[in-house]
Amino acid sequence: MGGEIPRPIFYFSKLKSKPLAEYKKPTSEQEYLENFAQKKPLMNPTEAYYESSRCLFCYDAPCMNACPTGIDIPLFIKQINTGNVEGAAKTIFDSNWLGNACGKVCPTGVLCEGACVYNHQDVPPLQIGRLQNFATEEVIRKGSKLYEPGPANGRKVAIIGAGPAGIACACELRIMGYQVDIFEAKEKPSGLTVYGVAPYKITNEEVLDEMEYLQNMMGYDVHYNSPITTKKQLKSLERKYDAIFLGVGLGPTAALSLTGEKKDGVVGAVEFIEELRMEKHKVEVPKNVVVIGGGNTAMDAASESARMGAENVYLCYRRSKEDMGAYGFEYDLAVKSGVKGVFNVQPLAIMSRGKITGVKFIRTESKGGKLHYIEGSEYVIPCDMVIKATGQAKMGPFLSKIDGLELDNKNRIKVNLENYQTTHPQYFAGGDAVNGGAEVVNGAYEGKMAAKGIENWLNNR
């Protein structure tokens, strides 16, 4: 008796995207929103009722174990089913301060929904992400005050970066009575949630409504357009605050060192997506686009180019399809949007005649795990724009201004995973800057844990 359960078969809710390559260039915000129709639209009450009825209320529930923040999923689903939607939202926020954003942007198919026991009998798993949004959206819309900041404890914490990690840390600290000041380089909160995540996963309004809801309820201060860049600024924070949390995420797209890389028409994926999220239909995407990379960001950038009306989008990766770092479902989504995958090609140079005309590639093959160029196989894919999705630079130069702050060999901030304290004891850190680039949910978890770490450290100092 006993034995291992077979690997879950991942199931994904029917994508509401249009069939292959049918996207016209959007000329208005309305058309833009249609091209980026929400993958996980809000459930109506009837849908939520029937869907929540299916939950088995598993013991030691695998869905819950698969959630990086450990949300009590069976509990909140049952609360929805019994009409206690506010209680459900509280269950969610109790574990995850970005409960609404996570419901929409988490790769649920490889997290909670992928772990749902129903997968083992080929029954569609519970649509946990959408149920989660059903609950959190209601309290955000109504502005229900589910929490109150704790009585002031006289301590102050500075947070650098208003991304998921920083915001989660701030909320948790406010519960414990800390005064919290967040310093954010940009003009909006939530970091890559609003500036980076694909628009068909979540709208700007949805992201910012949750941010506003949290700030109104928890009462932390955010100083926008206030990058911390100098050693002097850091020293001043160290004097004024009991602790500092680093939620700085990752940097801009890393350079490729290709000839022609600096030309107009060559953009970094993160920068392209940020412009898209802010300018929407006003962003000009030409007819032919080459995206270089094989991670989730490359998939997003390629999908997004297609949805912006590009006719030919080539997703070029130097290894094989199977070697890509991206989730399979993200690649499938890109292909469905009309993207063509080109594998085993290494970019050599960006060709231009005044403006760029194409990318020269050489074909590759893997031999014994090593990548080889196939001699004489060079060829050019013509294009008007190149998107580099080859990873984000780390924040090394900025972080080196903090005395005694150690980074690991991948330039990630070293922390003690018990309390997210860095090697400079006054500094704590979490999110992409620590994990090297994961998901919003990881940032939310690590920010929260760091807040607890700060409390413990200050109490025991």
Partner: protein, 443 residues
Amino acid sequence: MPDLSINFAGIKSPNPFWLASAPPTNSGYQVMKAFDAGWGGAVWKTLGIPVINVSSRYGAINYRDTRIAGFNNIELITDRPLADNLKEIEEVKKYFPDHAVIASLMVETREQWIQIIKDVENAGADGIELNFGCPHGMCERGMGSAVGQEPSVLKTIVEWVMDAANIPVITKLTPNISDITDPGLAAVQGGTDAISLINTIKSIVGIDLDSYAPYPVVDGKGTNGGYCGPAVKPIAMHMLRELAQHQKIKDTPISGIGGIENWRDVVEFILLGASSVQVCTAAMHYGFGIVREMETGLIKFMNDKGYDTIYDFVGKALPNVTEWKHLNLKHKVVAEINADKCIGCQLCYIACDDGAHQAIRITEGTRVPEIIDENCVGCNLCSLVCPVEECITMDKRDDGKQHVTWAERTDAGTIPTTFNDDLAGGKGHFVPSVKDALKHRKS
């Protein structure tokens, strides 16, 4: 093709599927439509001196995504004039001479009974059903369940009716009584041709959390209603069995009612002694079309079992419904989990640990629970909570050679008789130490 027709105490019907006296039989239009859809008979909405109804009238128990697992009403008998009903009965009988139209009646005085029986006979009704069941409103006026709960009154009225009637008479019983055989026997002694049961069960189906009034709320107030639908089926089947096994009642045909919705329900009622079945809630929920599912299912069942008529299996389960003291104490089953089917929900584990006998174990590193054979008492709980079809089965472990019942042990003087008797069935059976409970605490 088996023959589904019945002759129920002299009432002929092309099949055993009848509509119970209720809103679906409120008018000739509905009864005709039902016959056209395949129903063999209809018990007309109870006739008498027409009432005035309130609005709203119904409430329901919804179990998770299941609507109307139980149904509750505070409606009374017909609110339409008798003449209109009689005219429609006549018309229906013209179109469907071979279908059964049974007039349900409820009046007060002997004169009224005599008059209304004559009227429905003249209209062409095939039979009469006496409504001694309505548990709300009518009983406050000394009719309905007020009669059904008083065996001697019931017997007297049945006698009046038998005296006046020339067509078969069915007495419909209320379940709102502690022993159903009391009114059952009274009906038989009064001379009834047949019995039907159950009518609805007195109930409060829910309370509105804003107005603090029971459902259905009528301008801030409510009253008890009559409960029916799938939730009442087990109660109805038990009462049916009690009548069908009773020495003095068992030869009287019984029409089974209560929570019937599909062919399985129909077969179960027949196996417990019913030779016609009546349906109300299911027709109110899904319309008359559900009879097609009942009919095809019943035919398939009869084909599979080789039955030619309904009477081949009426009451066939009755010999196996016995008293607890005659059950074999040596029979032993143990739960078995099919690991290939298990989806790892661990509901069986927590159900057994918290609600049964701590006979399921979870080993680190796997989600498939394991039965601890020695601890399993074979209670079934795990197999009932398991969401996967046939994943937990109850495996027979005794060799089938031994047979000892409580009755036999009582005769042999080997039953426990003192509080700490060595013969206690659970003596020495594994229970964890009290303190083990705290091992489950989450830090």
